[in-house]
Amino acid sequence: MAAGDTGIEYRLPDDLGVEGVLAQIGEWRRLAEEAAALRSRAFYDSFDWSVYGDGGVLELAEPPEGLELLWRGLRGDASVLRQPVSQAPGWPADLPAGPVRSRILAPCGIRRLLPRMQIETRVRTVRVLDDQDKTVVRLALSEHRFRDPEVGLEGPMHGRIEVHPVRGYDAERDALIALLTDGLALAPADGPLLLDALAAAGRSPADYSSKLDYRLDPRGRADAVTRSILLGLLDTIERNLPGARANLDSEFLHDLRVAVRRTRSALAQIREVFPNADVALWKERFAWLQQVTGPVRDLDVYLLDFDGYRDSLPESLRPHLAPLRTFILAHYDEEQARLAAELGSPRLVEMLRDWRGFLESPLPADPQATDALKSVKEVADERIRRMARRVRKEGRAIGPDSPPAEMHELRKSCKKLRYLMEFFQSLYPDGEVRELVKLMKTILDNLGNFQDLSVQAEHLREMAARMREEGLAETDTLLAMGTLIGDLLARRQRAREGFASVFAAFLGDENRRRLKAVFASPTQDPETPDMPGQGPTEPPAEGRAVR
């Protein structure tokens, strides 16, 4: 049977299995079995399922000679791209040129391909014979076992039977298919094997995203819902820890840091739902985590931006920037080792365990925090309105001569407002908050540019000094870095000049109306209209928030 030969495939229910289905077909026709073959394959994707999100699955197969990388489309067309490779994939850009590389390069971006699922298969080839002992249909019956490398779980999964017709024996094929579908009630096996394996492992594809996507009950107790938001962020922190420790790619640490920042923001902004002493303790602990993860992230940013920096220089200076990259890389390993030690430290393990313990402990019947029992909608409305007022006030105060510190304060307030809106998005009519978040992103891009460019220019100056001290920078390199700093400061100036027009949209009537309308409305379930007796006066239900 040819490897690329496409047959019609059915899934075998557990109670029937390969032996069961063979026994049934054997009652109808004589069968001849050939030697069974073992095959092994692994499915690759980035941690955030970029390939899957782009409509495909990536399979590393081990045919008898060499390795082959296959991209299979998830949509109905079942298209397949393939290319030989000499080793397991890692960075998409490092793959040899070929159709699979071209397909996945853009969707994967800066993420590394990781083995997400391993499948070992035993394929039994069985020929269905007629009265002349001539093969009239070929069958491939496969028994699979999955191994989930992320959690080390392994186990059996549904078998499959593939029917390969033999030319000129259509009647026999039809009779066999009728036996399988009508007689044995087998369902077609749709979708790649990866999905079966994930299901067998109790997982679903695309089960990780750094985006916030909570479904909150507006009537839920504020403290319970806040706990569920924080639990979601804790899950993100924990899932990214191993990848950040091993430095599989820069996004593990990035996502971890974003989740830590959001945790700190939630603790600070969703006020009076937890005892103040607890909040103070946890804010401090997460500040530590944010701080120890900073140095590697800074270096990551330089490395990710390095090509852009280099290309922004005049052609003649570009080669002289190379020592900067060498310098960054030389310090990188040191910082990463320090980070890995912190991320694996008993201090962090204990901290996260205690944090989970706190978030999952029984809800107090009589909480000391004043807003703990309020409905989350009420708390969210109040917090968002207050923060929006602060952003408006701080933004209005900014003039052409305002010091950078004020811009920085405004940026922090905008970020807090954005996070609050994102946490509580599902409490409000669909789409309204999305528009507001979009606007906050635009403003934050501008403020972020301003702030980051200042920090980067300052950091580059420090690095230049250290490189000179360590004898690692020739004059040309220092000149190149100087030009780069000048360029960053010029960009910072442009960001500063653009601020007023970007922020004008926040101050505009339309935005004010929208803010007022969305966050000032009485408590209302966005799905169902108010029912008598279910208004805001009713005591809020206990933590009903699902992520």
Binding site: A2, Q132, K134, T135, V166
Partner: protein, 260 residues
């Protein structure tokens, strides 16, 4: 698509065994191959355990059905077979009914040039309208020769016939020795003599062996059950020399001197 016919006016020269084994080796080498059993004895069909019946045979020859609708997949990847059936003994009559009766086979095969890389025709012994069709369609005539004087005579007859045909019938004529018993002095002498008389013989000798005859018991090509038998090596040798000849690179081929 290249078309190779196993042909000899004389029967019992190892024609079908060669057609079956060559077709199998062709498919094994990765070429999509069709074996067309034109012999009403249906021996090739039997070797592949396929029932000797062709539904819609008349419609096929009248051009109302395509070849693809009547071929059968064999048990081997890449190898299809167009079965023979006993009623095919009257194929001549069927062909006579058609316009351009000597081009019928060619016209059936031509639209299929993307379906198969190689077509092997197992021809009935005789010179008839069927064989005239074969001569028109084939790129090469592989002629199994046994070491008898009678066989030399049939090759002469074939060459004379081909030379009398219009230039459209111009297959490469590739005789080779079949059913050879090297222990017999007569065989060796006749082989020597034939080579001298007909330069262009392929330098291949398929040995006479009961293992080849067992194909009828196994109902399978020889390489599937006796892959290391010397006869298998000889068929592989024949296959590679045939391929070279088809490429125009190899030895062999008796030049034809067309009269017209």
């Amino acid at each position: 698509m290249r078309i190779v016919a196993l042909y000899n006016i004389k029967g019992g020269v190892g024609k079908t065994a060669t057609a079956v084994n060559l077709a199998y080796l062709s498919a094994r080498s990765g070429m999509r191959t069709l074996l067309w059993d034109l012999d009403p004895q249906a021996a090739a069909t039997y070797y592949f355990r396929i029932k000797p019946e062709v539904k819609g045979r008349k419609a096929l020859f009248r051009g109302r059905r395509g070849l693809g609708e009547v071929v059968k997949g064999t048990d081997f990847e890449g190898l299809d077979l167009l079965p023979a059936e006993f009623s095919m003994r009257n194929m001549d009559l069927l062909l006579e009914d058609q316009k351009g009766p000597t081009k019928r086979l060619m016209r059936l095969l031509r639209p299929q040039s993307d379906s198969w890389d190689r077509v092997v025709l197992d021809c009935p012994p005789s010179i008839s309208l069927v064989s005239e069709n074969v001569f028109r369609a084939a790129d090469a005539l592989l002629v199994p020769m046994i070491s008898t004087t009678l066989c030399a005579r049939t090759l002469e007859l074939l060459l004379e016939f081909l030379e009398g045909q219009p230039k459209g019938s111009n297959p490469k004529v590739l005789p080779f020795f079949s059913m050879v018993d090297r222990r017999k002095r007569l065989h060796r002498e006749l082989m020597e003599e034939l080579r001298e008389r007909f330069p262009g013989f392929l330098d291949v000798a398929i040995p006479y062996t009961t293992e080849v005859e067992r194909m009828g018991i196994h109902r399978m090509p020889l390489p599937t059950y006796a892959p290391s038998h010397p006869a298998c090596d000889a068929y592989r040798d024949l296959w590679s020399k045939l391929e070279s000849a088809l490429d125009g690179a190899g030895e062999g081929g008796i030049p034809l001197r067309h009269a017209g």
